[in-house]
Amino acid sequence: MLLLLLLVLAPTVGGAMSAGAQESETSGAEAPADTSAAGSDTTAVSGVSGLDLSNMSPLERIQALAELSEQGIQQQPDSTREAGPFFQGVQNVPKVGALANVRQYTYYGELITTLTFRKNSLFTNKFNWSWEEYRKQDKTVEKRDNKFTYGLGDNLPVKVNLDGSWNWSEDNTVNTAGYANLSKRDQKRVGMSANKLKFKTGFLTNSAKVSAGFMDQASVNQNQRNDLQEGKMDAGFQSGLDITKGISIAGRIYGTATAGDRALGATTSPSSANGDSLGFGVYYNKDFVLGRVVVTRSNFEKKYLDFKKNSNGLIDTVGVDEDQKVVTELETVDAISYEMINNFSFGAFGFDTKLTRLTDDLDYSQSGVGLRQKEHDVMDLTLTYASGRDSIAIGYDYLLKWDDQRYKAATENRGRQYNKARDYEFNYFRDLFRRTRLNLRYHEGLSQDIAENQHNENDKDRHQSDFSASLERTWAQKFRADMVFAYQQVQDFNIRESRSSNNNVKDSYEVSPGYDWTISPWLNLDQSYRVYIQYTNYSFSGSRKDDYSKRGNLATRVVVDPTSRLKITLRHDYNKRFAATKTATEASGSSFYSRDLNQSINRIEMDLRFIAAPGVTLEASTYRTRDDRETLGTSSKTTRTYSGELWVGAKVLRKLGNTNPLELSAMVRKYNAFGPSVTETSSDYWEADVWLKWGF
């Protein structure tokens, strides 16, 4: 009887349901991801912010509370606000600023107002305004957002929050052909939620949540209006029972309903949505094992206006009569998820298992998509062992997923599109000597695309093998050296004859020794050398010629701190590379390659940072690159290309005043660049982040 009762309790929608929904608003809370039997994620997050208010100034505390309030997170009860007068204070924090970069200028203003009341009750209002002007595009965007939240704190036996927002924006864009589009939106929303966490009724630990809201939106894009007025209610309840020490069961139920009117283009119609979700889980944490088994079922039905869509779900209104461009869509989702997670540990051994299955049926009454079905299965196994100087981790992951579709008005499904992937990974770590560590890694993976009944020609397999060995040694924080060797082979095979001409096997090798040497407290040298070699062999002779390429890269960095106020960084990067094509293969197996390209790239870079005064830092950076290319072949060609950049700037961070200080933060940089790809807008521009803030 108790189990039956629990089965009727609540989970949430989870990913399955929200996947089918068109608005994020429609999804509810996620199923719990931890072993806590009584507390869904939505409710569990409340009351746990992780913030320590005690070390904050009054202004910082108010701002932190406002931020949390905006995110819908309630702070742990603050003892300083438990008692005293009903109205405890008001705080205003205005902020104005400007941003600039290569793409756009942004000017913005912000005002946060916070009212604090007895028993942790808090009202926050945040108003934002911004104006964006684009440098490369004929585009301006203005936004005005206002958001308020009001939490009743501990004044009621349940947690009650009110919130609302008003978002307004206008985006004016003129494209290259001179087409001017105004995209604007005016959205108002108000909502209320109440929840009570972890309350006891007999042996059961329960959590409950209910919320309601109303949204009014008017928007226009490409001269098509998209308006809605909708009200929404949802409620969730979950209950958990500790069967015995370390074993709990929990059930959850969640329901949501939305109703209103929508207008799309010239069409208006009532809209509605309703959904529910049921979940049940067993959670355990006993002796050597920790884990859970959870089953969730979700259903959703939504009726709304939508543009006519083709069988791939893409808007397809070209050549369609005006009165047939908009349809009244009915969308239904039916999803089930199963999850089993088990972590076993015994001494130095650990064995983790994860098994999940998600099935999802999504059906459209009008869209050409018709019925789309999906299944997604995952198995992850991990074995670990750690003892003394050795540790090993072995993992095997398997994924099987498919989707199928019955196009609108079709009598049969098109056939399943399968994707299978399996990965094996072996990692071994050993401390060879003092401060010297060895890591060996081997990985093998295969992913396959399979079209049932060959409904497309895209069947393919990708097989990848990797091996790497790395050795690292550190000498008492003064000198660190490492060496990496890596090998990788990738086989790319398209299975069908219409796609297989480029099938190939790529073998890559990389060797990269390096060191980092702190020569003195004011001087550091870091140098690394890397060689990459890649062979590409095509499976079917005659389709393409095999090739070979090699690149050597020497990177050097010197950091000098002559004083506590000055830091200079010098970098040099030298690359030498060539590419070659196979010309012949002897009977003995030896291959001959002909060089197509010789290239060397030199880049030198310098950064400078100087603290001119407390809170004032001067900065500069420059680089210059020289690229020499020699293209070989029937006619050889040599080119030399230069590119470079210089920026100078300053950072200022000052507080003016003591009790309610005025804060100024400014970062300004002037960029100048040259090179073949540098355009007029990117050759000379400012980058800036400047703001002024005050709290009173």
């Binding site: 069988s311 396959q448 004859e497 219409s498 690159t625 590119s643």
Partner: protein, 201 residues
């Protein structure tokens, strides 16, 4: 001694699994290419070739050609405002794996594609250094749905950052700026951000 025995057992397990992996990880035998079926990808020796390879990949519906030309280390896609508004949240943290998912889902959806990845007269500057930003590329992609013969055209302006990683050039960042007009009808078209939003999950 006991620890050594357990370690040997674990090592043996690892080696055994490697040997076993030979059976589990064997790719299928591919069919030899049909007569006249050839995709002539260009060597990734300069950004212009990398971008041209995307066009070849699109027209051949050949996803390895797309995957091979986007960064193996780090890839970023930044949508234009229009696409971002249509698919809120979808583009957050869009990386190589999301891009690979997108292109495979897109190609597997049963489409034929005509693509022109640069506008007429656009010339790529010569490559220099290890990283280059090419600005204001206008691409044009016509997608024909095989199942219902519907045609949807995408045309957008973008900035693309290319990087020399190991021995080859790759696309490191693709930033769509805005949708462009259909040159035939003047209608404002969407960028490929809308395709990514539709097929990216």
């Amino acid at each position: 001694m006991i620890a050594g025995g357990k370690l040997s057992f674990a090592m043996l397990l690892g080696v055994g699994a490697v040997l076993l992996s030979g059976c589990l990880f064997s790719p299928r035998e591919p069919e030899p290419p049909g007569a006249g079926v050839q995709i002539d990808y260009l060597p990734q020796s300069k950004p212009a070739n990398v971008w041209a390879n995307l066009e070849k990949s699109l027209e051949a519906i050949h996803s390895p050609g797309w995957e091979d030309n986007i960064s193996l280390d780090e890839f970023r896609y930044v949508p234009d405002d229009e696409a971002a508004n249509q698919f809120p949240g979808i583009f957050d943290g869009w990386d190589r794996s999301r891009e690979v998912t997108f292109i495979n889902n897109f190609y597997n959806s049963g489409v034929s594609i005509t693509a022109r990845m640069v506008q007429a007269g656009f010339v790529f500057p010569p490559p220099v250094g290890n990283e280059m930003t090419i600005e204001d590329i206008i691409y044009d992609v016509l997608v024909i749905n095989d199942s219902d013969a519907s045609e949807v055209r995408y045309r957008g302006k973008c900035d693309v950052i290319f990087r020399l990683e190991a021995n080859k050039w790759y696309i490191y960042e693709w930033r769509d700026l805005q949708g462009e007009s259909d040159p035939d009808t003047g209608q404002l078209l969407n960028t490929m951000g809308v395709l990514r939003g539709t097929f990216g999950s």
